[in-house]
Symmetry: C2
Subunit: 581 residues, 2 copies
């Protein structure tokens, strides 16, 4: 070892020890006759002291000549500090250096290696290896490591076997786009990178593996949104001989184990809400339950008063913002503009101010009497000082729009504290989802999700009403995991493919192996997958997943540090039997 | 849960309990009035009994109608067996079934699900999910899981951080072929799948991560040999502020931890041998040290006797096969034919029989006197009953040829017991290797390996003589891991690229980011990677890695179960901006 101790290790009890440390020059303070240097490594910072009057001149000058981020090795004696620093674990001591070796020099970094850096996003991406030196970034990856460790600890103890599934698999036309890999041996043929190990984990259940998990890279060639990555990591799990109840309790156990062992938080048992209720109360299948502000429907109490917007509305629904009755006209206008933005698409916003003096003022005073408004106020269980917002229109889209307003108000009112955690199981999802673009039903989760037996009769008559044995784990309004009880027999699987518009031939070409496997004794099974990057960022109290990935791609799917994707040689293309158009 | 217990769980102490089990029908024994069924799951086998005289007729008939591999759930009472089976953990009890539910039927499997199956390789690959049901195969993957667990336990305790490096990286023209992935967003550009995370782990050292590991998939698009896979798994590690000694002791620690905790074997401390010595004593840089049979060189004792083969030879070298002096002419001829096969390419084989009666007989009696032969026998420290084989010619190739003979004799003499383990560090590898095909030097490990400082002066005059700070872990004649101390400064790295025939521009295009990183304060660092599939197969006492991979590809790189690689749609090709030639 080029050191006897790390930079985070020495304490007052080590005084007088002769030690060797190695690390990076974080900072230099030059007081003329005394020079201090903060030496940094992954474990902490240790202060070096060079006193001109007590130090060999050559050594003193060598120390003074060091630059930021130089890599040095020092031999030194541990001494007690005169002015201690109780903010750092090594703050009681400093090192009187007797020998200094420069292990490597450093050019001036393009941004400061500090918790608060002066580097912009692009620069930090290009020099990601320098950005990773910052404590705040490294700690995020250390958190990730701990999350992975604790995930394995929990699942290992529950008899899960970690199995690696292949990365070079088969392309399927379903869902988001596959990355493909041309085969050099078989020209014109391609592998695909997995969007998830779904079919393989189901085959492992057919094989009797009983409980499988894997922390695994998955790939999706989608147009990237701000916080999506072409490669991402899942905690992927599957169990056999279970009911939905077993999955929910096992993985609620995982999430609570993680909160306990990574964050020291006792998460209460996770409540469940069915999809319909979530949509009705929050306008979202991933409600943020850190705060209430539940939807209240007053459709029936708005009719017959000649207010055309409400009169024609399928649904009139609102939320009550506690203590906001004195919002100014400007504040309310701003919220109205917010919901009218094209991304949200509402026509407008009705408000009812239940003022602190007990009077009620509304934007629809012209149509509704104080008695009418009193009924509304009661329905909302509003108190003096509260402000009610109402929206109206077609039920589904109105709820979606109100959800956006609710989240914005939650932010404004400080109800979405990153250090508070509220988890929820959303269950009983619809099996199918209507797609306006393709004008047909798609699987809401994926084609392997089992329909609820009692809803099967609706498959032909009212497919959108068929519920699935599917569930999502939602924390703080973010879907962190989702799964389902799977189909495990060929006839039902074939029925699903038919309803999803597969021809028999297509189904057989794509998933023939799975349907055949179901004929050789497939056990009842189900599973779940957690988005590991997202889960880590949630635990880290961050909005973006990017900092929780060691070497992320940018929004154009490009790694600007190594400069990829990039061109390959003509020879390589020829070997692969492909041409670039 | 669809069960209260697994099929491996019930004991005599559970008698009279009412239980629910679920699993597969392994076997049925029908004695007319009594029917036994072996119910199997991952955890074991439990015997079910149906006694016609004591069982409801419908239940009895339902049990009789079950087929192999049907998936069933039974409610039953645990009873003591009349004739116990001490070969199985559940052998003291059986289950008196009161309710039988068929969870799924099964077609007759294409091969028997038994430890010794009647299925051929191809059939078992096509129905891999059924092959995985066999205990012997599942146990191999359970061993793999345990290996991964114990690897993490050891490295976590040593302060290593597991970091996931990207899978979509940049293609490099060095070494074996990259798999590439066309970018849909950037037409004409490609990602590549990593052959190893080499540059990323080095960047993590530059970032101050200090100790990194990852159990990670790597990819190599090579022509597949019998036991290679296009995707394979490495235990990939890197450390900063270390010497070679630290790496050797840390990873010797890992291997000994695995032997102790996975196999219960106390592996002795691992001896070290330099490359030159390994070549001289075994003719191989991965000698099988389970047995001695070391090479003995007698060149100087063969000259001047007019035997042309030895007279002209750079090297005359041999091995002594203990107790083989009475080998027949036919046996010796067979060995001679073996070394003369084109794959080995020797010209012939000289033998010296030191017979049990003390006489010496040789195939070169014509040229060498009994006194000459006595000198040889002494050099080999041979005893009566031993048989010496000699080969001669150019030193390097003669050693390689003799190595093959040594391994064959080791097999023949039962000296290569799969349950015996002998580990060795081979160190001081050459930095460069001459390639006859390209007529230039290539990096023996990779271009990031550091040369020994004391040999640097030979780089221009005698490049093949420059030794590297590189090491391999060899167990039972198999290279299971290898690594090196890396270059960590730009000038040396650039020098290496120059010597490897890179133009400055090429080096910059491919590895500019790494060389630039070296300028911002790179610490001394080094690492190692273990072939995880190979390590598992070695621990499992198997020759092939294939059974230690859940879903392997065949020798043509094809997954015959899911049928990939396969064609993709014209639409997909168009999206990707490529054409198939």
């Amino acid at each position: 070892m080029l050191r006897t101790h790390t930079c985070g290790e020495l304490r007052i009890s080590d005084v007088n020890k002769h030690v060797v440390l190695a690390g990076w020059v974080q900072r230099q303070r030059d007081k003329g006759s005394v020079l201090w240097i903060d030496l940094r490594d992954r474990y902490g910072i240790t202060q070096l002291i060079f006193d001109e009057s007590k130090t060999d001149a050559a050594l003193f000058n060598a120390a003074r000549a060091l630059g930021r981020e130089f890599v040095v090795q020092v031999e030194a004696t541990v001494v007690e500090r005169l002015s201690k620093n109780d903010k750092m674990p090594t703050g009681d001591i400093e090192l009187k250096v007797t020998k200094l070796t420069v292990l490597n020099t450093a050019k001036l970094p393009p941004f400061t290696i500090e918790d608060e850096t002066d580097g912009g996003d692009d620069l930090r991406m290009k020099y990601r290896y320098l950005d990773l030196r910052r404590n705040t970034v490294r700690e995020k990856l250390q958190l990730r490591h701990k999350m992975a460790q604790q995930t394995r600890t929990y699942l290992d103890a529950q008899n899960f076997i970690e199995v690696e599934t292949p990365v070079l698999i088969k392309s399927t036309p379903e869902g988001a786009r596959d990355f493909v890999v041309p085969s050099r041996i078989h020209h014109g043929e391609f592998y695909a990178l997995p969007q998830s190990p779904q079919t393989f984990k189901q085959l492992l259940m057919v094989s009797g593996f009983d409980r499988y998990y894997q922390i695994v890279k998955c790939f999706r060639d989608e147009d990237l949104r701000a916080d999506r990555q072409p490669e991402f990591t899942q905690i992927d799990c599957e169990m056999a001989f279970i009911t939905q109840e077993d999955i929910l309790s096992t993985f609620e156990g995982l999430v609570r184990h993680l909160f306990k062992n990574v964050k020291g938080i006792d998460l209460p048992s996770v409540p469940r809400m069915n999809y319909d209720e979530a949509m009705k109360l929050y306008g979202s299948d991933k409600p943020d339950t850190r705060f209430a502000m539940k939807f209240v429907e007053i459709t029936e109490h708005t009719k017959g008063k000649n207010f055309p917007v409400f009169e024609s509305a399928e649904l009139v629904v609102g939320i009550c913002a506690k203590g906001c009755s004195e919002y100014s006209r400007k504040q309310i206008d701003e919220l109205t503009e917010f919901v009218k933005r094209p991304q949200i698409g509402a026509k407008g916003l009705v408000y009812v101010q239940y003022r602190t003096d007990g009077t009620i003022k509304s934007s629809v005073d012209k149509f509704y009497s104080p008695e009418d408004l009193n009924v509304w106020v009661e329905k909302f269980n509003a108190q003096p000082g509260d402000l009610i917002f109402l929206m109206a229109g077609e039920a589904y889209s109105t709820r979606k729009q109100l959800n956006e307003l609710r989240l914005l108000l939650g932010d404004r009112l400080g109800l979405r504290d990153k250090n508070k955690f509220s988890a929820l199981w959303v269950i009983d999802f619809p099996l199918l989802e209507w797609n306006e673009e393709t004008k047909r039903y798609h699987a809401m989760h994926h084609p392997f999700t089992s329909p609820k037996r009692e809803d099967l009769h609706l498959l032909d008559t009212d497919p959108g009403k068929v519920r699935a044995n599917a569930y999502d784990m939602v924390i703080n309004g973010t879907e962190v995991g989702g799964g389902s009880i799977r189909i495990h027999d060929r006839p039902t699987q074939q029925l699903m493919f038919t309803h999803l518009g597969f021809t028999e031939e297509e189904a057989k070409k794509q998933f023939g192996f799975l349907m055949e496997a179901f004929e050789f004794g497939a056990p009842p099974h189900g599973g779940i997958a957690f988005g590991f990057d997202r889960l880590c960022s949630l635990f880290g109290g961050a909005d973006s997943i990017r900092d929780f990935i060691a070497f992320p791609k940018n929004n154009a799917g490009r790694d600007v540090m190594i400069d990829t994707p990039s061109t390959i040689s003509d020879e390589q293309l020829k070997e692969l039997g492909i041409l670039v158009k």
